[in-house]
Amino acid sequence: MMSEGSSFMKGLILGGIFCLVMSFFETFNSGTHSEGHEHLHHHLKPVSKDELQKLSESQMSDWTLQVRVYCLIMVTPKLLVHWATANDTWSKHCDKSVFYTSESSKALEAIDLQEQDEWARLRKAIKHAYENAGDLRWFFVARPTTYAIIENLKYLVLDKDPSQPFYIGHTEKSGELDYVEYDSGIVLSYEAMRRLIEIFKDEDRCPERGHALWKTPEEKQLATCLKYTGVFAENGEDAQGKGLFNKKSVSSLISDSMGQNPADVVEACCSDMAITFGGMSPSQIQVLMYGVYRLRPYGHDFHDSLTFLPPNDSDND
């Protein structure tokens, strides 16, 4: 009895020391940031319009070329109507859009990852996108229930160097972990993707199949893996500090604003340069498509320093 007890105590003390040592190392690792202080800023804003006007034409065209986006749209046959809607609407504005599915559907084309586990599927999609990126340097991951205005995404990252790690969206906190919410879309730079691919090989820190006891949502697993590589979540917002990534629908946000700011509903609600909205039905999305790319008052012209052309073979924008 006594010898069992003392073995137990030895085991407990050894285990405790082991844990302390491991967490000490962990703090060391996550403490090493790579060059550049960008990661310490957790709010990310677009370049100001004044700054843009000061730029030369050659710098403008460099940036226009650099700011091309690969969209990874994570679908399942259950989301077929939203899949079809995303295919017919916002995804046409990505420089390349690829649909990644859990299982194939006869109705629509996609890369069939043949994977039911969401985190494993996301990893496979990320690997595939990285290998097929060509010269695209920005990546946007979303489900088809999210609607994105890619031009505004480009405006947000216009002056950011994709060979630096960026992980942007609407940020939330879970204990010590800042993560980007999946429902409002996730933006990753080429360097962030590269580091992810590397850490995917580390089965201890970034396992493919999580613990059997509980399932961490993939948005948090992604944040954890990225954190190990020194990449931190940043909240995308406009010059006034309004969030650009929304998981709620436009009417939901307007309705909230009518309750909170009845004197100034639209001004207080949402950014003019909003990037994403969520929770909208296919017919609401088609109306939003018209509202973004077509409906406007005659005579109100904006002289933006950059031009993005409408996509080919499209009649709803």
Partner: protein, 300 residues
């Protein structure tokens, strides 16, 4: 809008401004100013409303598009500090044509010289004034004309949907009021859009074509989600049965420079305001650019 006379409308003009950056350098900037038609095409808007709707509906018009009219009048059975004009009628569906008659008579008496065009809208109609002015700019307010969403039945020459909003030229307003003064037009129906349409026909006011240069509608009697979602080819749904022009479902339904949508509740009113005047894609080159020089040459 299509016009009977082919006209080139010069819609943008350049302003040269000189800026002296330092004493030695003078830089001339060439800027295209947005053409402000509000002084050239004056619109008086009147909104058909009632006391019970001021808080639930009309205040949202006042907060959004109402202020873009040259003059806006909120017409009700009672005067109030909203402010509303009291028309000395009863409330109720059966009184709508009386309200319309009284409203136009009031406007004719007090505001005839304050505007060129006179728009009627419901308290659940969303209107884009800039697009209305653009459409009207090619037309002469001294001619007897009326624009809106053209419906076919009940009136031989057709009539304009009340809910989508309709607009009378100054001459059309004069003739409407004269028609009642001379007994040529009477309160012969409770349905205001049909009643007004019949009087327009009697007084020889012409129906205009409000579609854009691509044949797309600008006035809409229902909300955008009735028209925009893609549909498989199908027989006309009930809300398209009265259409004079062949209706199109899906993206071709509606002009980029839409003028109105109807059955718009408070949340939708602010949503459309956000879509029209705020939310936009940075740097995007719009496909539809009427009024640009090259486009006009192709269309005449």
């Amino acid at each position: 809008f299509y016009s009977l006379h082919a006209e080139n409308v010069h819609t943008t003009h350049s302003i040269h401004t000189a800026e002296i950056l330092n004493s030695n350098i003078l830089i001339v900037k060439n800027r295209r100013a947005a053409l402000d038609l509000s002084q050239k095409v004056r619109v008086l808007c009147w909104v058909m409303t009632q006391p019970q709707h001021l808080k639930s509906r009309t205040q949202h018009i006042r907060a959004t598009w109402g202020k873009r009219c040259n003059i806006v009048l909120y017409m009700s059975s009672e005067a109030s500090d909203f402010p509303t004009v009291g028309l000395n009628v009863l409330e109720g569906r059966s009184q709508l044509y009386w309200k319309t008659i009284r409203a136009f008579q009031h406007i004719h008496m007090h505001h005839l010289d304050d505007a060129d065009w006179f728009l009627k809208a419901d308290d659940d109609t969303f209107v884009v004034l800039e697009n209305l002015r653009y459409g009207l700019s090619k037309h002469n307010a001294e001619e007897p004309l009326y624009f809106g969403r053209r419906f076919t039945p009940f009136v031989a020459q057709g009539y304009m949907s009340g809910g989508a909003g309709y607009v009378l030229s100054k001459e059309a307003l004069r003739r409407f009021v004269k028609g009642f003064a001379d007994g040529l037009c009477t309160h012969n129906t409770e349905i205001e859009d049909i009643g007004l349409g019949k009087c327009m026909e009697t007084m020889k006011v012409q129906l205009g074509d409000s579609r854009d240069v691509l044949g797309r509608q600008t006035f809409h009697p229902y909300p955008p989600n009735n028209y925009l979602p893609r549909q498989l080819p199908r027989p006309r749904p009930w809300y398209l049965l009265y259409e004079h022009y062949h209706p199109v479902e899906g993206p071709g339904c509606c002009s980029d420079l839409a003028i109105s949508f109807h059955y718009i509740d408070a949340v939708q009113m602010h949503t459309l305001e956000y879509y029209t005047y705020h939310l936009r894609p940075f740097g995007y080159k719009y496909r539809f650019n009427p009024g640009e020089r090259s486009e006009n040459r192709n269309n005449s």
